[in-house]
Symmetry: C2
Subunit: 766 residues, 2 copies
Amino acid sequence: MTRSFFTCACAVTLTAVLGQSRNTDLLRFVDPMIGTQRMGHVYPGATAPFGMVQLSPDTDTIPYAVNGTYNPEVYRTCSGYQYDDSTIVGFSHTHFSGTGHSDLGDILLMPTTGPLLMNPGTAAHPESGFRSVFHHAGEKAVPGKYEVLLEDHGIKAELTATTRVGMHRYTFPRTETAHVILDLVHGIYNHADKNVWTFVRVENDTLVTGYRQTNGWARTRTVYFAMAFSKPIARYGQQPDARPQEYRGFWRKFDQNHDFPEMAGKQLRAWFDFDVKAGEQLQVKVALSSVSTEGALRNMAAELPHWDFDRVVRETQDAWRAELGRIRIESKRPEVLTNFYTAMYHACLAPTVYQDVDGQYRGLDQNIHTATGFTNYTTFSLWDTYRALHPLFNIIQRERSSDFVNSMLAHYDQSAHHMLPIWSHHANENWCMIGYHAVSVIADAHAKGVEGFDAKHALDACAATARHRGFEGLGEYMDLGYVPEDCSGSSVSKTLEYSYDDRCIYRMALSMRNEDIVTEFLIRSENFKWIFPPQGRFALPRLANGEFITEFDPLDTHQKGFIEGNAWNYSLYVPHKPDAIALMLGGPKGFREHLDSLFTMELPDKYFEHTEDITRDGIMGNYVHGNEPSHHVAYLYNYTDRPWMTGKRVRDVLDIMYKPRPDGLSGNDDCGQMSAWYIFSALGFYPMEPGSDAYELGAPVVDRAEIPLPDGRTFKVIVKGQGPKNGYVQHVELNGARLDRTTITHYELMAGGVLEFTLGPNPPNF
Amino acid sequence: MTRSFFTCACAVTLTAVLGQSRNTDLLRFVDPMIGTQRMGHVYPGATAPFGMVQLSPDTDTIPYAVNGTYNPEVYRTCSGYQYDDSTIVGFSHTHFSGTGHSDLGDILLMPTTGPLLMNPGTAAHPESGFRSVFHHAGEKAVPGKYEVLLEDHGIKAELTATTRVGMHRYTFPRTETAHVILDLVHGIYNHADKNVWTFVRVENDTLVTGYRQTNGWARTRTVYFAMAFSKPIARYGQQPDARPQEYRGFWRKFDQNHDFPEMAGKQLRAWFDFDVKAGEQLQVKVALSSVSTEGALRNMAAELPHWDFDRVVRETQDAWRAELGRIRIESKRPEVLTNFYTAMYHACLAPTVYQDVDGQYRGLDQNIHTATGFTNYTTFSLWDTYRALHPLFNIIQRERSSDFVNSMLAHYDQSAHHMLPIWSHHANENWCMIGYHAVSVIADAHAKGVEGFDAKHALDACAATARHRGFEGLGEYMDLGYVPEDCSGSSVSKTLEYSYDDRCIYRMALSMRNEDIVTEFLIRSENFKWIFPPQGRFALPRLANGEFITEFDPLDTHQKGFIEGNAWNYSLYVPHKPDAIALMLGGPKGFREHLDSLFTMELPDKYFEHTEDITRDGIMGNYVHGNEPSHHVAYLYNYTDRPWMTGKRVRDVLDIMYKPRPDGLSGNDDCGQMSAWYIFSALGFYPMEPGSDAYELGAPVVDRAEIPLPDGRTFKVIVKGQGPKNGYVQHVELNGARLDRTTITHYELMAGGVLEFTLGPNPPNF
């Protein structure tokens, strides 16, 4: 099979029906526990698709810093939950899915019995605090519902959620001391100064409101809540604040620790006591808002006015069924079904809704804005998700894609820097990682015909962002063609990623006939060339005086010039010019041999130890799947003399690096990027260059797949010869016509039709 | 002259005209420097009447606590300014007028030249920081404008303000280093943890926005601002934050200290540099909002869209002329004119507007509300101001009185305690001092026919507040008839004040025919009797078991049972039953002798040293004018056998305790209460029992006075025989008919007419 671009495919209609799988409840293929152990960093709790509330158990309270020094242990609980932990400190309402740095964990509730203990205690001595021992045998997680037995208290806790409201159902044993702790001190990646302010009002005997304001990864963030109980509070109070407090005299007039309805301070914990019978269920609804407690109350009134817990589970699970059903697959291998639909589940956890039911939300400027004509979202882990997650959305979540672009444009409009988001969450820019990949997300949406946003404004925003001279060496990049390492670190990674991002802007400008931008960014998109020394195999960091830094170790991720990827992996990061890279590395054959080396070399342990965010399973040779810069690398084989190696490598990665078990994710899921890679690759194609309309072909692991499309069309993937030993694509047909290229286009996909792979145990007769 | 109640007065029209004084510019009688030295605690800066912005120089940065211990020195600068200080640290935009505890001092600006210094330095070494030496010769304060020469920097600074916007005009010398420091660390009554969060955005090269959030006397408070410069910022930056900061790594990507447009942290100071020529004027407009920076921007756009400093001065001074002109007096004594109109000025500084131009404001529940049908105000120093200031408003500021009641009702509606304000400011209840005197303010407004609020809702709010069992011994008071000292301190003061407040509720309920409340609160209003032991001269603290605490010193303010007044003064605090007190103290003659003792006794120094908030001038014998509980005491002579002594004592107090000089206020002006006492008393009458419609007659110090009334009516005060030696009222005529009583009613006043006092050098022929 020779590869060639620009070949038209005939449209052929396939009439085959996927049969039984249509009627299967896809929910049963989702296991939210996958990825909760070790590196996956996902959370097992209850959430609606893209929900604002992520109500999930937190298994420890690891401080971000000990004696002022970063505590690496905190990394274990980026999602609040680690499968190996033995205790639960409570259930908080906000969580990231799969991140490698963290924040959130807001508004923790913990039901307890026995003596009122107002501190979480320690994992070694859970009896010293309100936390409880739990075992996985007493735990059950399904989309939209989580339950666990809190053994120390004899309480069964069940959780569910609508988009903006978390709902708890606690079944108490016989007890005369039934407490619910509201812990506003608790948080993920908490440090001593993280809480800026906390505020609680007991509005009446069943309603409590308040907020938690933090200075964390989001520098200036406030989460408002409204909490309703299904039965009256019998007594309540707050933990006495041990901190010396100025002006306290004026507050001594009341007993502030008991039944005092307005609490405020930096470290608030409150308790609420209830009179319950044995087996009685206490229910709690907690609505969130970024706007105000009134906003939270409106969200509760609109989304969850009733007390029917099971109905919420049912409706949220129906919402999940709809999202999961956007791709239907068949496989004889249960692990493929579980991996695939769990990936689909994880791919629908971020970005998250970030507005109240009336459209109001807190913007980056900390003012209250109203989203008009779109739904506002937050949690844009863009360095990760531009690669495959957003392209996936541009197929199966096109309305949300438009919302995402509009949300990023709102961020741009509110930005004092006049920049699109880099890594943004909860009305904040946290500036995490490099590049300005919002431009990729926008260009990809534009290239793929997503509508509903102002393309001209979007292109302006992309160009303005890419021209911000003060940002991470961009000024020098614009002047010299590369980021000099002596001006801004990780300069190789940055130069490569800027160069790719610039290609996205060029493509978008080209399609919009904006000549100025086209010229400027076409030139910039070639900048990757400046950091490859003549005859070199690796991109090298370069100084402002033009010299290359040649003394360096291409296996070391912590090498000057690089971040989250060593020179071996990063030097392949020119997704928009794979042929150029192939040429630099000796043409199709030399390039292939280079890739083979990558996948098969022996990486000494010392290098792995320095590699963040991944398990040993996340590495294949020196190919690092657990971090994103390599996600397109297997597809580069399409630009070698043995393109079928793409499918071979991809299938190996799919099978080795994704397992249907708690430790089954080999690296951080990164807000769905790792999962989106699985979804695409399992289907047999991948968006190597987001911003273009091409998908590189690989080799599917599904038996069949069906993607419902607008206007009743369907895109189908059919696989002949699927089997564990048949790792090589023999040939591919699109609508019955054999393809003589290794790509299909987005428009071919969206037109509907059938993509048929034929697999075999050996490379095809090339 | 025998005294008798319930005598009708004939309405007579006086045709005399006040002549020249109508055309006098009253502004020239106001000296904002009066009361800035020692105990007055007023500020000399620029503000509009009842303005949200109080733009004034702060002369020191005294910490609230040193090593965790309250620093009594801080008390000197409750208003930010002490006349005796030698340096100015800058100009901040919020100040209390005359309080005895403090807060505010938000958003300090300081123009400087020379090396950029980012700390205020010390008074002893002003050159070590950005502060500057100043002298009163280089200073000028008039209503609506303040100016000062900042000698260390050679900068003339001029300040003015609209209701919501402060305006600065800085005239620079020849310099290549013209800085403006924006100090968000600075505040009044600042302690190390007071700043909760600060936030600054440089929106463009002439506009900066941000906020300061504090935990001070107001526990949870945020002031938003928008600041516009009249010329582009050349360079800007922030003071590097020395505090270890978690997550800082993510921000290191930028140089955050220079030209980084989004600053946030707990202790922010920013600098803005300008290129100026010698003599060039840089102007700055700073708008405030309790809602958001957008709210501040809207306030600026609506109130001060232009750059004409002199026009702002002109318009704000016109607003002041209108307020001052609500009472026109004549006097041959310049000091009376100055004292009177300075008192009028000070009486229009609080409460302050607390809403944006669109009616939005932050409520007590921290949510954003919109004032509909009224203007929302804050800064209710009610323990002070219910006595004379609000009654004064019920004559000359009746529309604002309605707004004040509606503002207090909004507070009630938003209160988690379901209580009216005690001492509230900036969306917070600070619980300062005792009683629930909002009910007095409401009842007085109701009794005096102020309209525009829901009287039924107001009465409900009054009763609910008075029934809050958890508040300061109220539960026990309701059960036992008095506050037991062993349950809640200052129990005598509380019992007496609750009893008076209950009379207010009774009166209001009576007029509204609410029989349940009438009965309950009539009984409660007699509760003062329970703390007077049989045959005792002083009210005594009592225990829950019924016993009196008899071992105590009636001269000691810090005696158990009392607050801000000793037993001598406080035992006279039954303003609603002066005849009952007179009877207890031996009838008219015995009562008079008791009062004479009070005014003439020798108070040993040791007692004065323990008396807060007043200068030595604030005491006459053991009569303590510098604190409020005695403010009605001189008028009690009307209930003795020598009622003319009222006038005699009042005139002595007016002349001795109010002087037209910086140290001329003998105690804290207390948001205008001390000034309102002067205004009433100078006119010859006083509201001894707010909530009733009666004014007790005293003896005027004005020669004539005229109060313009609605519908073209006028109430006039004419004095025959005015002169320093004529301290005794001979007789009083109302509209030509001689009064055989010592009171007039509000309705007589509001009907217009003439009140004519005839004074003489000796007591009248009685």
